[in-house]
């Protein structure tokens, strides 16, 4: 039974503390876990050669969690993991802030690595989040992408 925690939050993501607490709470007694892979994304102060001073992350409450969960379920069916933790920030952020955390635990490294990467890529291409940047001159703009409606 995989332990899955998915959380969307407006408060800062304390990445390393969250991971520490999650392991303490759920995994200390599981000595069959041999590997943990983590990916974190942070806000950069530069995008398309412009200085970015702030960003607003909008999402679709409800669908976001559901969509991430669907993706996690699909990925771990192929790369079984013992635990999966996904946190995503929304609201107002500034450069250096953590935006996303994806972590997976498994018996051996191949699954945890592949699962972590695939879950993150799936989140990035299908979870309903949108970024609006504020540039140094005060202008705002939506970050654009070419993600498509994922046909089942």
């Amino acid at each position: 039974m995989t332990i899955i925690q998915i959380q969307i939050e407006t408060s800062p993501i304390a990445t390393w503390q969250l991971l520490d607490e999650f392991e303490q709470e759920h995994l200390t007694d599981n000595h069959l876990i041999g590997a943990c892979s983590v990916f974190t994304g942070k806000m950069r102060s530069s995008n398309h050669n412009d200085e970015v001073i702030a960003m607003t992350l909008e999402h679709y409450p409800g669908m976001t969690e559901q969509q991430i969960r669907t993706q996690v379920d699909t990925v771990i069916a192929e790369y079984p993991v013992d635990a999966c933790l996904v946190h995503h920030r929304v609201g107002e952020v500034t450069p250096g802030d953590s935006l996303v955390l994806c972590a997976t635990w498994s018996a051996h490294r191949a699954q945890s690595f592949r699962a972590c990467e695939e879950i993150f890529e799936a989140l990035k291409s299908t979870a309903p989040f949108w970024k609006k940047e504020t540039l140094a001159n005060g202008d705002t703009r939506w970050v654009e992408s070419n993600t498509k409606n994922p046909r089942p």
């Binding site: 995503h88 935006l99 989040f129 949108w130 992408s145």
Partner: protein
Amino acid sequence: MTITIKYFASLREAQGVAERTFNSSEVHTVADVIARHELAFPENTLISVNQVYAYPETELNSGDEVAFFPPVTGG
């Protein structure tokens, strides 16, 4: 037939509202909902019905929540 419609990000800004309700007996699919918008959606617009990705041909039932939004940029 009552349909709740939601718009996100640039589409919300373009529509000027975040949510509206359609009451009509002539709406059967997402395409019918799209046709009732004065402002055309960009070609890359994504669609969901009841918070699951959907398509213009997706059939609707009364009470459904339809959302329109641009390509996603999370992560």
